[in-house]
Amino acid sequence: MSIGIEQGMLLAAILFLTGLTGLLVRRDVIFMLLSVEIMLNAAGLAFIVAGSAWGQADGQVMFIFILTMAATEVAVGLALIIQLFMKFKSMDMNKANTMNG
């Protein structure tokens, strides 16, 4: 029994949907950012599986771009989390719904 494209894609899908569930369930900002990381990683895994199926390096190149984006997103997201914590003294996302103007 060899590993087909199905098994790899299934793993990527399960990881992605776990991240999606976490993003919908959790209200803590840090956990939401972690869930986004899980989803990005799963998308990258799907690229690698597809690239491996065709035997070409394009999938790996795309993974490098996803990595770049994830790093930027985490840096900006964590800075936002620090600002949010200073303002509201809480990690609860529901307390930050008073934005106006």
């Binding site: 990881l15 369930v25 840090i30 390096a57 771009f65």
Partner: protein, 177 residues
């Protein structure tokens, strides 16, 4: 190699589930690192050794350490964990889980109704990736550089403390309005 793939995949899924159900942030983070390391092993098995190394060095190494730093800096106490357990009831998992399982069922249906394509499991060397990166995708690399620069500037600007004195003649922030 195949049995290794299945064991590692199972471990990745287990660790990821522990991430989203954990109440303590730092424990969830450690589970996420374990999950990323097992995904790196999967990538290695699929024939992408360069990407597996990048996953360990950048994802598990750099990005997760950034998370650890921020969690340590915020110094979240027992109240946050208490808040989190108040918010996180079992009932909240029902709706999102149903949505996710429906999507998963659709993907499984789609994958089952295809002809089975076994992966060639051919190793793609880092040289090949680098060659493609700096010829065909050169423009995207430059856009990535823009993105990183804007990320640095944005993180520096957002992470700054609010200034108490804006200008030497305008001592308090009220004068500006």
């Amino acid at each position: 190699m195949n049995i290794l793939f299945y064991i590692t995949s199972a471990f990745a899924v287990f660790a990821t589930l522990k991430v989203i159900t954990n109440k303590i942030a730092i424990h969830a983070l450690l589970y996420l690192i374990a999950s990323l390391l097992s995904v790196a092993v999967v990538l290695f098995i699929l024939g992408a050794p360069f990407i597996a190394a990048l996953e360990v060095i950048i994802y598990a190494g750099a990005i997760m350490v950034l998370f650890v730093f921020v969690i340590m800096m915020l110094n979240l106490g027992k109240e946050t964990i208490q808040d989190e357990s108040n918010m996180l009831s079992k009932k909240m998992f029902i709706g999102p889980s149903v949505i996710s399982l429906l999507l998963l069922a659709e993907i499984i249906y789609m994958l089952v109704h295809q002809s089975l394509v076994p992966l060639p499991m051919k190793m793609i060397a880092p040289a090949e990736v680098g060659q493609l990166l700096f010829t065909k995708y050169l423009l995207v690399v430059e856009l990535g550089a823009f993105l990183l620069l804007s990320g640095i500037v944005g993180a520096y600007h957002l992470g700054e403390k609010e200034k108490l004195v804006h200008h030497r003649f305008l001592k308090t922030g009220k004068d500006i309005a």
